[in-house]
Symmetry: C2
Subunit: 363 residues, 2 copies
């Protein structure tokens, strides 16, 4: 019997889940209000808003299982369908990921260190926090922020009032702007039966608040095992099912958690060509309670996001295999249109290939 | 501008081409008379017979380029559309692949050794061939044979008359049944601009005339370079564009060509997970004249075809990554429903995994 997986969100992550699912012989159906979104290449799209009761019910009626490709899915809406159709990852992962305060409290409760922070509901709160935590801080909305939206860096006291006002005055959080050396992410998958697999760490570079380049494995020596421990604890604590990404700052020989995403993640796109099993395939195996696939790497991996425009040509580069992923979106400034993955025989060859690709990009 | 690739045939090879194409941002459209064929998961299917002038014209009108997933495409029908829409691989590859005599003459003309053979148009012809070539021979129709169909082994003189009659009496070919040690295949790709890439050899085991298991790389020592030379000569001679598979017999330290397929090939399914770039992606890169991707392997690869029924469960196996491919077909005895790929850290681990998978199969 062919199984049908319902996926909330039909963007590029949904598309990649869909491609992995098709290979496994699954049918896919997506819920997304957008007109011809990327995942339409992988299955039928029900065009409803994400919180549409009607849309979710139709999705549930067509699906054996439901999952999602982004973390701003309305939990209340999900609750209505979860009684009849299993929804993975579990709602409590969404609840924590949607609220930066709950997320930090969760991290702290299981011993994962986080940057110092304060909740902010007024200008006075931020003035106090600036003294206690010290400037600079990053002021963020507690909810619905992504790709650098809904946040502002406050470096001087004179910026406090405007920052608080511009972000809506309450339900904010101020975090110490940690002078991190590097940002890394660790991605892992946990299945219904509790099996866990973890990918090598990726090091991530951002540009204008959007992920620009990931490289894996990250050269973090002894910190890899620390990150694996944090991720494992998090997966267990949430009784998690599916793929999850944990973003961490590296400060000297310490790791501080930034945030987690209860879904497949842009910093794991390299796993399609670079790991024995992709994060997408493992997400589906996990929610279907199939045995998980191996996660070891086949070379040095690099990924470069294609933002705003596609490269006119892809270069050849000695010692590297270069792979284009085109999401089929209409080009628009700031829009993620695709990515390029490099799998190379050495770090040097990988970085040379990434440079060649970047030279061809309009940025 | 999104390009559309028209593919004649919408079976599992078309499906895998389609999945590779989707990732590259291509639109796919297929021509196939079957009701909901596997490639329907990857694009629109025009339901026409393969030789339908109307169907081919509609396909051409929708496509920037046309290619095919099986070698029995009627060349005359293709000629009508090739004037306006490029068709790859070129027609002369099809012409040679569709006629076992032309194929052998082509091999011989470029110095690729073949088993001894005779053309057969009567019982008397086969009686003469039995004396000259010696029994046993394999009697085959010159055209339209695949997966062991359209051929018969003749071991004794008493079988001659019935064999010739049952295969239609003329346009036959009798080949020496070579006492081969092993059967291997070598797959390569040549692009519009003439770039060539070649995959490691695979060793193939058949069961009831259908490919059962492939293992790559084949342990053939010095013969690999000989096979690469044959394949390169063949690609050049045909002015070939796309992926091609050449099947060879290994007899002691010699190779004899069996046949070639002007298309992606079942014995290269392992390249999806096991090579830096799959044969499917490279076929599309070749016909689009993009740079070809690297072909080196990420471990020891194995592939087992799923014929007639799907395994109820996939095992875990130490040191191996195991990947299911389900073509979405209705089960039927003798039907290729999917395959499983194993990528392992050692030959021993791969073979252990293949055995575990085979144990779960009803065969």
């Amino acid at each position: 019997m062919t199984k049908t997986i319902g996926i909330i969100g039909a963007g590029q992550l949904g598309q990649m889940l869909g491609f992995a699912g098709r290979q496994l012989g699954l049918e896919l159906v997506f819920l997304d209000p957008a007109d011809s979104p990327p995942a339409a290449a992988a299955g039928k799209v029900l065009r409803f808003p994400f919180d549409s009761r009607e849309g979710l019910q139709e999705l549930a009626a067509m699906s054996d299982l439901i999952t999602y490709e982004f973390e701003n899915v309305p939990v209340a809406a999900l609750d209505h369908i979860a009684a009849d159709t299993p929804v993975y990852p579990p709602a409590q992962a969404l609840l924590h990921a949607q609220d930066r305060l709950a997320e930090k409290q969760l991290f702290s409760s299981i011993g994962i260190p986080v940057p110092e922070y304060r909740t902010i509901d007024s200008v006075a709160d931020l003035e106090r926090a600036a003294i206690e935590v010290g400037l600079p801080v990053v002021l963020k909305t507690r909810r619905l922020g992504y790709d650098g939206k809904g946040q502002q860096v406050v470096r001087e006291g004179s910026e406090i009032e405007r920052a608080v006002t511009s972000l809506g005055c309450n339900d904010l959080i101020a975090e110490q702007l940690v002078p991190f050396d590097r940002e890394v992410s660790i991605i892992g998958t946990r299945s219904v039966r509790g099996e866990i697999c973890i990918y090598p760490l990726a090091e991530n570079e951002h540009r204008n608040g959007i992920l620009d380049v990931s490289r894996a494995p990250a050269d973090v020596a002894g910190l890899e095992i620390v990150a694996q421990g944090y991720l494992t604890d998090l997966l267990h604590r949430l009784d998690y099912v599916g793929t999850l990404a944990l973003e961490l700052f590296v400060i000297d020989d310490r790791l501080l958690a930034n945030e987690f995403a209860p879904r497949v993640h842009n910093s794991g796109h390299w796993t399609i060509e670079g790991a024995a099993t992709s994060q997408f395939e493992n997400h589906l195996r996990a929610i279907l309670d199939m045995p998980l696939g191996e996660t070891h790497m086949c070379g040095e991996a690099g990924m470069i996001n294609l933002i705003g425009s596609m490269p006119p040509i892809l270069p050849k580069s000695e010692g590297s295999s270069i792979h284009l992923h085109d999401y089929g979106k209409t080009p628009r400034p700031g829009r993620k249109l695709g990515h390029v993955t490099v799998i190379a025989e050495s770090v040097r060859a990988r970085d040379a290939a990434l440079s060649k690709i970047a030279e061809n990009l309009i940025r």
